[in-house]
């Protein structure tokens, strides 16, 4: 496989969606290709950083309101 093809398979690789034979070919390419390995590292870094954008504390008034709603729901059920 070429690098151009490999980069389009990376999400499927990370999600475990490649068939065993494709996966073997993918890993074989990656092990001998610095560029594709770097690209995979970049994609993993992007995924990790996307995850970090979630850090956002729940505002206290909203949290209090939600907890009250929960207690009300619990008492009613």
């Amino acid at each position: 496989m070429t690098c151009k093809e490999i980069v389009e398979l990376m999400t499927d690789y990370l999600d475990g969606f490649l068939s065993p034979s494709r996966r073997a070919k993918f890993e074989q390419h990656i092990s001998g290709c610095d560029g594709c390995r770097a690209y995979l590292t970049q994609l993993k870094t992007a995924r990790m950083l996307i995850g970090r954008t979630a850090a956002e504390p729940v505002p206290e008034p909203l949290k209090a309101e939600l907890m009250n709603a929960f207690r009300y729901w619990k008492a009613a059920s």
Binding site: T2, C3, K4, E5, V7, E8, M10, T11, D12, D15, F17, C33, D34, G35, C36, R37, A38, Y39, T41, Q42, L43, T45, A46, R47, L49, I50, G51, R52, T53, A54, A55, E56, P57, V58, L62, K63, L66, M67, A69, F70, R71, W73, K74, S77
Partner: protein, 192 residues
Amino acid sequence: MSVLLFSHQTPWPEDRPTYPDPRVVRDPIDPDLEALRSADEAAFEALITRLHGPMMRLAMTYLRDRAAAEDAVRARRRKESRILTFTSLFRRDGGPTVDPSRFGADRMWSSPPDSWTNVPESRLLGRETIDRVRAAIDDLSPKQREVVILRDVAGLDADEVCGLLSISPANQRVRLHRGRASVRKSLEDYLT
């Protein structure tokens, strides 16, 4: 925000069939949701803490998309639709995710990427980088953005996202792949 998951009212406009279907949550596989079934208050608190950020981001993007859609309708009424139609015709989800000029005639890298191992962690994880990532997520097409947020921000798995958005596994993968690739590109422009 997460309380919306338990109500029967959709928090998004009825005329957008691609929005998540809250009924999917009927049969939870999430451990937090399981604990919730036994009315565990600590579990509920953990759940809202975990989901607040992603839910807010998702809600904000829907509100923004809705505003953009309303603007588009208004623009069409003003008979400016020609430009809008023109752009939407050429804005498609196909094509390669990496600039083809970075590969040689043999389709191997001619201008290979850097693995960012020399980027100091303080810079990589710094506020400016995260802001950059946020902006890149905001710039995605709405369909890519909702999948990226649900997968990589809210941490749902592929099956859950397909169920929630009523999309095929192949469609989910394409949207995620293109979304992540755009964020990667934006990071590369910034870090390299």
